[in-house]
Symmetry: C2
Subunit: 235 residues, 2 copies
């Protein structure tokens, strides 16, 4: 029998890639025994479960939605099945639950109540991009989205630039996909030309690209990243 715990299931980043490209076989063992899932989106969670195992009886599974519209008071009661001794799972839209995603609140409640949490291995665009960038992996920061408006945006860029120089800390961040190209132009215009930028897009998919160049070279590029999920790293 599966140990009662909150199991965190990573989901493939790329929709067209087979599950075994980025999920260890073992993850299916707890997956098959869990009947209570907290998910970011029910439709995509069902699709993921079916992809993992076509024999899974989806109708026997209870899904609870935890997304950016969930209010804080609603989170704690979601753990009731686990408090009654039943294993539970968390499935996010893509990548690793609780990293850049609402699942962290649920994990925090589980930790406060002394419930066991089991994170499973899977794809993280942050980590894959860092591995492929060639940048410092001994010290790095993930900053989420940059502030949209000035002057907060320029201040943030300056702060990241300072941490690269003073602390040799790789700076990682994301942008809304339709603004990717504009971001590359902006970085090239506002930071030193010898600063290195890595853009990683389509990770784990057929069109994966991980490209590191100095900003002076990026300013002349015609590479198109608009509308593809991408992750940006500076060093």
């Amino acid at each position: 029998m599966l140990t009662p715990a909150l199991y965190l299931f990573p989901v493939p980043i790329d929709n067209d890639t087979p599950v075994n490209r980025s999920i260890p076989q073992y993850n299916l063992v707890p997956l098959r025994e869990i009947h209570h899932f907290v998910v970011e989106n029910v439709r995509s969670a069902r699709r993921f479960l079916k992809k993992c195992d076509r024999e899974i009886d989806i109708d026997s599974i209870e899904f609870t939605v935890l997304d950016e519209h969930t209010s804080p008071e609603e989170v704690a009661p979601m753990l009731r099945p686990l408090e009654q001794g039943k294993p539970m799972g968390v499935i996010s839209e893509a990548g690793c639950p609780a990293v850049a995603d609402p699942g962290a609140d649920l994990v925090a409640v589980a930790q406060r109540r002394g419930l066991k949490v089991v994170p499973l291995v899977g794809p993280s665009s942050i980590l894959l991009a860092l591995m492929g960038s060639g940048f410092n992996g001994q010290s790095f920061a993930f900053n989420g989205y940059l502030p949209i408006h000035q002057p907060a945006r320029a201040t943030k860029l300056k702060e990241m630039e300072r941490r690269i120089i003073r602390e040799r800390q790789t700076q990682i961040f994301i942008e809304t996909p339709y603004r990717n190209n504009r971001l590359v132009t902006e970085l090239a215009a506002s930071l030193p030309g010898d600063r290195l930028l890595c853009v990683a897009s389509g990770l784990t998919g057929e069109h994966e690209r991980i490209i590191t160049r100095p900003l002076s070279a990026w300013s002349k590029t015609t590479l198109d990243f608009d509308k593809t999920p991408a992750i940006f790293l500076l060093f």
Copy 2:
């Protein structure tokens, strides 16, 4: 035929755990076709390859060592097979190559020369600990080892404390395993009692423990983390 590229192969964190607990099945596809590996340690790389596939012909494989004793000039020539069109692999001691490990220098050279780099999915203690901690996954920093000596150590702790408060940035770091217990005591003595500390040890293994508590509770703990690889998170 496998596309010529520098493939980055993660390795299980826990020695006693089957490979399929933390490595996707797919990773074995490129692994079987590569005859040139850059490794942190030849013995453990051979052991990993044999664990992945007992049929692998280890004697047909060329291993080049890249570790903390390798001088910078030695790194670039290691990529010669790839420049001649042969796929190459990187295998580190445990976890993901190029994250907190010398492989990053090799990836940097590959990027400078416009060679393709393919990071593969696998276990990262940093990411697993972050997922399991319940801390902010939208903003986090990995700091590597804390400085050993004062006053640099106290300054670093203060800086991390400031970034938790001002930026809500989760702070992640590691310690030499035999000093783990002393570190917990030190943190409890020098930071506010309501600051949350997560200690994650034995990740992906049978004795995995991921425990988040306020420092006021850690100061009274009798939990023993000495000599087990652990990762520390503050929030």
